[in-house]
Subunit: 279 residues, 4 copies
């Protein structure tokens, strides 16, 4: 599948500020950036760097007081792998790959330590397989209302569990917290998603099972096939689309993703019962 | 300087459990493990792994129901570097090394995003140098009571800022939160400390300035020279001395550190105004 | 029914302190204090006062540095009213008696405003009758573990909802929060309870339906008939057994309640499906 | 002094809802409602009731689906008493009037139990007089930013102490929490205030000293003389301008207060160092 993605962010700056953007998708096993462009108004030098762990691409720049507009566009080919869910076991902590251990401990927005008892009550009787994250995603979908405006950047799984409302980011954080509480490594994924209405950055989570990251979207809003991965981290704190050092006001934001062909526009019903892997 | 360190942890296990211990100091630029031994009762196979980022050494094992005793001993030579504080500048985010960027964002126990306004009110007028973390450590020392038993494993900087009481771990978390709020990368260090009374694992924090990690101990309890580093992470969640998967009760815990010679037993007064670097 | 109740509280005081005790049951429609004695070591003048709203009895005294022992004993006759649950309607806010309005708003330990969405999700489809608080009590019993030592005096319903563990006080706070979220006035009751093991002060909650307060015990630990009411308030903050101004250490605490005859020792099975009213 | 006050609240109701408004000032020792009118569109029966404790006036009504507009107007004469601050002692808990005891314990938005240590650190060395609440109000003014939009209805003193930003209501809650932590009864006051810009309901707090309630405004925004008291309670939860049972959207809100003569428009400088009492 192939998508044209774009984001345009316009800021006003009362004084000079440094930005670190995380809006450019990386090449991964399951996606290839075919073309891309990053333009800035005013034109400013940008340094790109990647984190060793997840391959996230960060663009850093210093902007003077005034305004700043970033316009990023790319065409990205995605090849998510769908496989039957049956028989995908959870991996015992005793044999987990060391590189996924950091995704087992609590983080800023996914306080797995605080939801232990609830996680085991709700999901502890399920088989130790992919069934657990599947049910976790379903539970969140059933028990939390998707409501724009009810949460903010400081909201965490702990809050969402009581308030029972949030957006994609909050849904992902809660999924991550529950998985970790059950000893399943889990991480946060920010993405472009072509069929999100209204268009915005999307967020989902991944759980590590049987040596691979599998994708879950508790919102049920987007097709896993139509997802273009941007950043992967412990939670949203790692992959904010813009980390700003200094005062800056986001004046406008437009995020779009469009399928390049009809196949890419489909949302295969059959996928809803498959295990999706795109990392 | 040279120290003999030891920790002995005894658990009872109602059922089989997996442990990941982080009690063994790594070799770093500033410390060398000269001899060490790790014994287990019962004798069990152990897998050691290191994290790529900080070099932390983790020992993982599976234990059957019953009891488990871990006894770790080592002799460690330390060579912390003390230099004058004057003129050590903070590094602007625009030129920070990418590998320290993860230490700028909020984590489970150091919610820098929640303390922004307070951090800038208290420390924003200070020069953009090592003076900021120095004053942060001093502020914590002056404003938070060191009181065993007032906090627990879920306590974070956000709580400590209101309750104004805690132990070394809480002091470190608050120091980290303040530093990050001021755009100074900061991280958590667990350690053996020879002059801590009563003996226990110690915790301090490091701030990144001018291309190097500098050590701060807001408790003022231990001599920076007498510190044997164990683990380094975003906060305590990364370097718990034991991460346990399964039910286990810690029955007893003994942590000791002893100087091997008289020089190592000294606590040089002169150091109190120096910048200490041991990473 | 008739019970002998007693509580003995021993404190040490580094310096003079003022105490307000709430350990003496009041006479109400449903209970009569037949005999009582309050002794203090050392012997100190005590002022008793009652609050106008609930009739709670408070004993205030000033103690010098040293030790203080309070020993309160009483024989109390109780006459709770048990009636069929069927047909007890919730009262619409539009016609609620003004004097119960304060029990509709959130309080320190029962943040009903934070649990609105969850309360309506879980209980909103039930008929607007006593069935709602009945199911609330049942839900708490089924979903929260009764575990001594997991909570402390600052714990509130908001915490318990995530941690899913607590003691009688926490169970009551959560019940109150849920009721208020559903527009049912609810309040906290501290009590002596003869069949609590280990003996301690007990806590339950009351919900206002059809012009009367009905009693609920989400712990299921005590027989409603064996309850001797001490204090009634918005939550535990109003009816702490001892409010202390100054430094004081509680060295020992013994709370007992014993039936005076065999009838009072019974725990009628039939009551479990009745509506109990004792206010 | 004499003020014309008015509030106009317009709601849309998807379905029938019950409202309890607290917008009408009561007659007190220090204020007299000379004329008033309450109009509703559509015209609906209203029940007025007062709480026994504070004399607050509540207007309750049931509205059908559609729209509701409340328009309240009054002319109120105020006679606050200004006296020298010197020599106003705090009252020891041992001799406090029982009726103010409820204002010593923590409430929903003023968790005095959580700020004990900080309160004593900051204010514990001050004389046990009105100096304590005076300095508390000053501390809040100096350490918390008045910023509309940073807080919401669930915000409490605990949050404000870390975030260091809020509006009049948050300032009052923090003042109350600090006072109670220092054993000074304190309560919340909602009010019309003629010189607030932009016009809105105002909130201040009162502390009980030497047998009287004294007024404090940590925002420094309004003249104590220009305050028309509406509601008095433990915190904002008791005196919400509208408590709504059912779905309702506040579409517009206008609150005004105007001096009736030039004397009432003055803001005497001399008052800034006086103790103001208006209860």
């Amino acid at each position: 599948m192939r998508y044209k993605v774009r984001c345009r962010l316009a800021y006003s700056l009362p004084s000079p500020s440094t930005f670190v953007f995380n809006v450019a998708p990386p090449d991964t096993m399951a996606q290839t950036v075919e073309t891309e462009s990053l333009t800035l108004e005013p034109d400013l030098p940008v340094r790109e760097f990647r984190d060793a762990e997840a391959g996230n691409r960060y663009h850093r720049l210093e902007a003077s007081a005034g305004t700043l507009v970033l316009d990023y566009r790319a065409t990205v080919r995605t090849e998510p792998v769908a496989s039957p869910r049956e028989g995908i076991p959870a991996t015992r902590p005793a044999v987990l790959s060391p590189h996924v251990m950091p995704y087992l401990v609590p983080s800023r927005h996914s306080e797995s330590d605080l939801v232990m008892r609830l996680a085991w009550r709700e999901f502890g009787a399920l088989p130790e397989t992919i069934e657990r994250p599947v049910r976790i995603a379903q539970w969140i979908h059933d028990n939390v209302d998707y409501l724009v405006g009810t949460t903010h950047s400081a909201t965490s799984a702990f809050n969402t569990l009581t308030s029972r409302a949030g957006v994609c980011r909050d849904f992902a954080h809660l999924g991550i917290a529950f998985c970790r509480a059950l000893n399943i490594p889990a991480r946060f994924v920010s993405a472009y998603s072509y069929d999100l209405r209204p268009p915005d950055f999307h967020a989902v989570f991944e759980a590590w099972l049987d040596g691979r990251w599998y994708l879950f979207d508790p919102t049920g809003l987007a097709s896993p096939g139509g997802l273009v991965r941007i950043g992967t981290g412990r939670d949203a704190a790692d992959v904010s689309f813009s980390l700003i050092f200094g005062p800056a006001i986001l004046n406008s934001m437009a995020v779009t993703a469009e399928p390049c062909d009809s196949e890419s526009a489909e949302r295969p019903q059959s996928w809803s019962n498959l295990a999706i892997s795109s990392a």
